[in-house]
Subunit: 271 residues, 2 copies
Amino acid sequence: MSFADLLRVTPGTTPDLEAIDPDGTPGFDGDKDAGHEALKPLRVELADFQERLWAESRESLLIVLQALDAGGKDGVIRKVVSAFNPQGTRVTGYGVPTEEELRHDYLWRIHANAPGHGRIGVFNRSHYEDVLVVRVNELVPESVWRQRYDQINDFEAHLAANGTRIVKFYLHISRDEQRRRFRKRLDNPEKNWKWSSGDLETRSKWDDFQSAYTDALARCSTDVAPWFIVPADRKWYRDLAVAGVLAETARDMNPRWPVIDEDLSAIVIPE
Amino acid sequence: MSFADLLRVTPGTTPDLEAIDPDGTPGFDGDKDAGHEALKPLRVELADFQERLWAESRESLLIVLQALDAGGKDGVIRKVVSAFNPQGTRVTGYGVPTEEELRHDYLWRIHANAPGHGRIGVFNRSHYEDVLVVRVNELVPESVWRQRYDQINDFEAHLAANGTRIVKFYLHISRDEQRRRFRKRLDNPEKNWKWSSGDLETRSKWDDFQSAYTDALARCSTDVAPWFIVPADRKWYRDLAVAGVLAETARDMNPRWPVIDEDLSAIVIPE
């Protein structure tokens, strides 16, 4: 069975995050080394896909990455997104909104970074923070964030109807794994600059975030913009599964090399 | 001797493009296989540099790529720029200006894409087109483009004074090599969509472009924003030399991991 079929949140259903093992490796029997090997041809396939997507310049691909802190978003970008030619790929990270962004609706900054024809856009965090951290930390009243699921679905449907393929990944890690990664981060001078005291505060609201994620995954996994829940305690599986879903998406999109009508072989190039 | 020292256009001097062999491999004695091997550790070094640049978030790096058609700009992006984490790297291609861009001075769209702190910006073509194709095709009067060398130097000095390191590469190919690459492009269905009839027109103005490049290289190679002339008939050497100059630049910039004052080892992460 495909990674996409195994990991997709079926539209209209509510995933039970507690029942999904963050340490699991659905769809793959091998070990870490085998996982690394399996990733290689997928990276080649993704690179080839990107060239055709760019050449055809008809559709776009939008990849949304969401996870709790230390969930592995950066790792996916480094290990999987790096397979694409940087020329046609743009990664946008969404942090606390700027003053200017706050003077607009929450989808304004998102829309501005939607990928153009032939391009791949990668969102490191996204508009989903507006129903996640914004909800958990009560930054807007419930009456406001409650409306957003429908608004997001409408927005994503609009992008899809206009040629953007959307795939959304929730990287699912366990409480224990987050603790181990935080500890590593704190103890490594090449990583501890990433530490923020907010990380512990967010961790203390673990259950609230799980509830908020469950609602976002349940209400916003649609046919045109599905969510995939990727068990992410094992980094190698996480990368393999994301690359696998992307490769399956690429096969389905199957952009074609443009066909030139003119007989180019007749063209003479002067000395 | 370093690639940078061998390939840099000494500020205040005029390079003799005819005297520079596009098939040469200055600074490297090995063959193609050795060149591919030598590129690998440079890619690792560039990836490490990028992480520190991003972590420190103090300076920026701007890489300008210029060449005639089929000169290898896309290849450098695929083979060298891809070493950087896509999260901190943004490639901007500059084509014919849009209507909105034309309502502004020619540096407006350039400045808008200058890399922020900790970021790497890569320009596939650049403001130099405004003293190259614009000059050769007489899109503005000479009195206008003549002023631009000083304007460009002032602009680049401004970026440099505000924390952006600038390195500019001219990929130097021969007339014969361009013809071979055009032929390959025309005869390959995965490449012929790149073909434009304008390519032949530009080729027919080869000498004009060489003159225009010579002036740009002579007048705009400065201490803070040097030009490097990279012999580019051999793709493997071109990639190696660009990576070499970038690695030497990276060593000189030498961004540091931020040092955290707080004693992070004392932090307890709750279960």
